[in-house]
Symmetry: C2
Subunit: 227 residues, 2 copies
DNA sequence: TCAAAAGTGTTGAAGATACACCCATGG
DNA sequence: CCATGGGTGTATCTTCAACACTTTTGA
């Protein structure tokens, strides 16, 4: 990209949009019970949309790569590090920010170990919200969240997408619960297990908890994805 | 979105990347023979990469939407209008433009009726290149082209993606040739026809050309896509 | 009558869906 | 012994891949 018409491209004499990143970071609620997805939101303490909740995000800095900016914002605004993100796309509709034209690049992630949420920087507070009960969102963030969820649903078709999210060892019930949370639908136990059979291998260990049969532990097999 | 930390966001006191759009516009070679894809490129007449070929593109203007900017650049640099484009994503790797940090949003399109290429504006010339024999490209445009082709291949899985590209009436051989050009592989005639059967309807007309059986004409049926 | 492209069906394999019962454990 | 979640197999349907010959026409 960047097929500018001027050789002195750094000295623009016209106004231009700013670039931001926004991050839709999801996490599953605790396994065991019915797993649901939660979304990380930041409460805005400055206008516009003061007091509303918004996706973490902010301006991309000069010579900063987009994923880097997304990770930085996540750390600055919620104290989260080492989160795996991927890009969904860019949105630049004029008017989406009342202060001026911004083009945002949307990143999505699924987080394990959410760690401690520290409302750092200028963000009043950060919190997790169940995705089906979100508060009113600032800017066009509701649209972004919809796009983010749709993208997640597509990705999880390849079960290995969840590899970074689960601990090294997990039970198939955990894997299924997480998949169901992302898809928003329930899956048949037997069909699910057949489908993931080639992607995981039993470690031999078991997990005992509660008055019932212990669950075998699995890990992801090496090798490429399927489907 | 735009979760800035300043309420006076328009007065940034730090340097920031510029936003560009780039367009990978493909077209099929003439049907009848073996259909191949060609890509529209613009010859750069200014440094950097002076003399190299590049994707059409340029800076996004203040309060201009991204698809609008992509269409405008296509018109300015190649004289093409009314091309249907869709977005693939954003790339903002520092160093991708030696003049300074730019974030580009990549758009892709498939063009029918390419019209007359007018090397307008500052572009020395515009031309079509068979995708398997591209010249050296400026910036990181080779990467963008690869991403664009991969995206096209995914989209064409839904045959209706080609709806905007074909004339109102077309033969199944034309439809198949175009699909094959996008995929870069050959398809079985019978399987292809079975697959598209529900998406198209015969208009009753035929096209006669050459010393062989005339081809029936089809149009796309109304209704949503499948698969 | 010939060359050239249009058109057409069947079979097998793989993948998806639907569905119900036994197992191992802790309390 | 019972409540709880873990674990398993079969039948059906749909989808995809492979594969070869007949039809219609203009020259």
């Amino acid at each position: 990209m960047k097929s500018s018409r001027s050789a002195t491209a750094r000295t623009y004499d016209f106004p231009r949009p700013a670039v931001t990143v926004d991050v839709a970071l999801f996490r599953p609620t605790a396994p065991g019970t019915h797993v649901r997805l939660e979304l990380l939101l930041i409460r805005r303490d400055l206008p516009p949309f003061r007091g509303d909740w918004a996706l973490p995000g902010g301006f991309v800095r000069e010579n900063e790569d987009l994923p880097e900016a997304a990770g930085r914002e996540l750390e600055e605004e919620a104290g989260l590090k080492q989160v795996v993100l991927y890009q969904v796309g860019a949105v630049g509709t004029p008017g989406r920010d009342p202060r001026g034209h911004t083009v945002t690049v949307l990143f999505v992630g699924l987080s394990r170990n959410p760690g401690v949420l520290s409302a750092g920087g200028d963000a009043t507070s950060a919190d997790w919200f169940v995705v089906d009960e979100l508060p009113k969102l600032a800017f066009d963030h509701a649209v972004l969240v919809t796009a983010a969820r749709a993208s997640l649903r597509e990705r999880v078709e390849d079960i290995r997408f969840l590899q970074d999210l689960l601990p090294a060892e997990f039970t198939l019930a955990e894997l299924q619960g997480l998949t169901e949370a992302v898809l928003g639908t329930e899956l048949d136990v037997r069909n699910f297990r057949r489908k993931v059979r080639e992607a995981v291998v039993a470690t031999g260990g078991v997990r005992r908890e509660g008055a019932h049969r212990p669950a075998q532990l699995f890990r992801f097999a090496r090798g490429k994805s399927r489907r």
